[in-house]
Amino acid sequence: MAFDIFLLEVILSGLMTGVMYALVALGFVLIFKASGIFNFAQGVMALFAALALYDFLAEDGWFFAVFGFTLPVWLAIPATIVVMIVLAWVIERTVLRFLVKQNEIILFMATIGLAFVLEGLGDLLFGSDVKPLDIGIPQGASDWLLDSFNLYIEQLEIFAAGTAAVLVAILAIFFQRTRIGRALRAVADDHQAALSVGVSLDKIWVIVWSVSGIVALVAGIMWGSKSGVQFSLSLIALKALPVLILGGFTSVPGAIVGGLIIGVGEKLAEVYIGPIVGGAIENWFAYMLALVFLLFRPQGLFGERIIERV
């Protein structure tokens, strides 16, 4: 294999992996953008969504035990979306509405608690076994690329990239062109001001957590298809953090570009620097890369500029 092809493979694989990270980071961005809350539970939401989807599809789940049949994929996905909307509503009713006027750090702490509750609930409801998730997404290397160009790229990751592109387009339209999207941005800018012009905070929070839940479902499907649905899936949130630091907490394009930079950066580091220093550097290299960006652009590449007046 020629060196340049290998380098190309590393870069392309990094880009594709970066998209997978970006899918998780997007959920964080949506909630932070609309409510200023850093949702620590985003990774667990992806896990919970994947568990719920699996339950609708499998014969060893609650749904089959109660109704005696499983759902086809095209019905199971909308059913899971309904579950995530109900979850958003419950979170708003039981957690968020009591913390409206609290400091952001309190809201952050609440989401840490939420992460543990959701993880425990997922364990109780669905069990801790590895659940193979197959909803028909192509997996393995692309035979055409491999046979024609000796180029290895995962079909699942190509599919994830396409899905992410569609998702970003929909979110852009949602935020820029719809009345609800504008209301979300108004709430993000100033809760009190938004309330004073008649924006319903309760409703907005349910909507944004629902949208974030749907994004979590997409991330859960992609990661669950890759490794099976299991509780380690919640740890992918840690992979999204450097992406957010780099891309900015409030920017949807930032999440994507940040994901791509982190994905490529960590793969190049692991392949070319790793052997010199003993390997296994991609995790901390991603954070180091993010910290370097932080030094020069604290708001991230696409984040809103931080202006402090004294």
Binding site: D123, V130, K226, G228, Q230, F231, K239, K267
Partner: protein, 438 residues
């Protein structure tokens, strides 16, 4: 544990309550379980823990315990976290009435932390097929037992298997053998042996670490694709195994040249990869499958009474069998301790002696309903590992079952012996341990 099982367990506990109350004053044998039923490694931890606990329940239900003394199975959740594991140990070691008769941490990291404590607390550590390899030297580590085989023995067994496929040990010269390993004490354990054998047999060795939990390994497998090693060994755990097998399949790495450690060879590891995992190999020190007479006894005396810890249809999975056989060896050591000391009220100190005189031969395996399930184990003062043999099993994706496909390889003692001597001597020097005379 899901809600249905939780309800079942609550009902079983309520039914069992009068029995415990009536026997409250009787001596009981405390055999703990350091489990991980939560967290990222739970899928494996649960199945193993079920096998371990079900065997103890079987002895209580079928035989009234060991020689008429009931077993008290105390559980503690470690989450496969070393810090939590040490907390668990401190919590359970003094459990009345007998105190913990042994601990089985199911984690190399936890085992390393407990080794200095065990001799002080007089609690034997049973690190079955994991932990610190040099603890096989009973002169330096009188409280640690890593039977029936260590990671170093396994590494030599797997290399012998590779040699058999390549045409002999001489044929290894110039071959590339790579190790993809969990970047932890566990994953690093075989490196020294594989390096020593690389020097001896002339193969090229390279280790590729993967950070825990191992959800993302693309960079590792791109390097394997580029460098095309002849054989790849996998020292992984949990999600790392599933991802590694899928990645290997994706780059079209031949599965019959990809061998996992015995902790990388369960149904959990191969099923998510589907047909792509067909032909994947792993080490083994016992048979797969649930068709042995002991399994029938567990179904009859444990599951038919609603006392089983897991799903009935998972009896016989690789990790279930591993937990079950571990509990067998542990309780045989307790039985031997009773025999040696002439009392049924044994303590951790007695059980240490029981481990050191453990002799589970073919005839005893037959009596236990495990004839042909594993090989005989004989422990001595000097050798806490036993025979150290390992076989290779292969996954049949169509039949969804593992099959043993090799003989049981004796370890290369000329490789492992000096390494064990050197490592245990270093430990003795660092910790002011005077080796015993055996």
């Amino acid at each position: 544990m899901n809600l249905r099982k939780l309800t079942g367990a609550a009902v079983a506990a309520a039914l069992a309550l009068p029995m415990f109350v009536s026997g409250a004053n009787a001596y009981e044998l405390v055999i703990p379980s350091m489990d991980y039923r939560t967290g990222p490694f739970a899928p494996n931890g649960i199945v193993f823990a079920n096998g371990w606990s079900d065997y103890l329940t079987l002895l209580n239900e079928r035989d009234g315990g060991i020689n008429g003394v009931k077993i008290k199975n105390v559980t503690c959740e470690t989450g496969y976290n070393t810090k939590k594991g040490v907390e668990c140990y401190e919590k359970i070691k003094g459990t009345p009435p007998s105190g913990a008769l042994l601990v089985q941490p199911l984690s190399t990291g936890i085992t390393y932390q407990l080794i200095p404590k065990a001799s002080v607390d007089e609690v034997p550590i049973f690190s079955m097929g994991y932990g610190r390899t040099s603890a096989a030297n009973g002169k330096v580590f009188p409280w640690v037992f890593n039977l029936p085989a260590t990671y170093w023995s396994q590494a030599t067994g797997l290399v012998q298997y590779i040699a058999d496929q390549e045409g002999g040990l001489d044929a290894l010269k110039g071959k590339k053998i790579y190790l993809v390993y969990h970047n932890s004490a566990y994953g690093k354990e075989p490196i020294r042996t594989l390096e020593a054998m690389a020097d001896k047999f002339g193969y090229e060795f390279r280790g590729l670490p993967v950070d825990s939990p191992g959800q993302e390994q693309k960079a590792t497998w791109l390097q394997i694709r580029k460098e095309k090693p002849d054989w790849v060994l996998l020292w992984g755990w949990g999600v790392m195994n599933q991802v590694a097998i899928k990645e290997a399949a994706s780059i079209r790495y031949p599965m019959d040249h990809f061998i996992g450690v015995w902790w990388s060879g369960s149904e959990n590891d191969v099923l998510p990869a589907g047909d792509a995992a067909d032909g994947y190999l792993s080490g083994a020190f016992h048979a797969p499958g649930g068709g042995f007479p002991l399994h029938d006894d567990i179904r009859k005396h444990v599951y038919d009474k609603g006392l089983g810890k897991g799903d009935r249809d998972r009896i016989g999975e690789v990790l279930y069998n591993r937990g079950m056989v571990g509990a067998m060896w542990a309780t045989e050591a307790v039985r031997k301790a009773m025999e040696i000391h002439g009392t049924t009220e044994v303590t951790g100190k007695h059980v240490r002696d029981g481990f050191e005189a453990l002799d589970v031969d073919e005839a005893r395996l037959e009596e236990l309903g495990l004839g042909g399930f594993t090989y005989p184990v004989k422990i001595t003062c000097e050798n806490h590992e036993g025979s150290g043999k390992v076989a290779v099993q292969q996954w049949d994706a169509k039949a969804k079952q593992w099959n043993i496909v090799s003989k049981f390889y004796e370890p290369l003692r000329d490789v492992t012996g000096p390494l064990i001597e050197a490592d245990s001597a270093a430990y003795a020097a660092e910790n002011n341990v005077t080796p015993r005379d055996c």
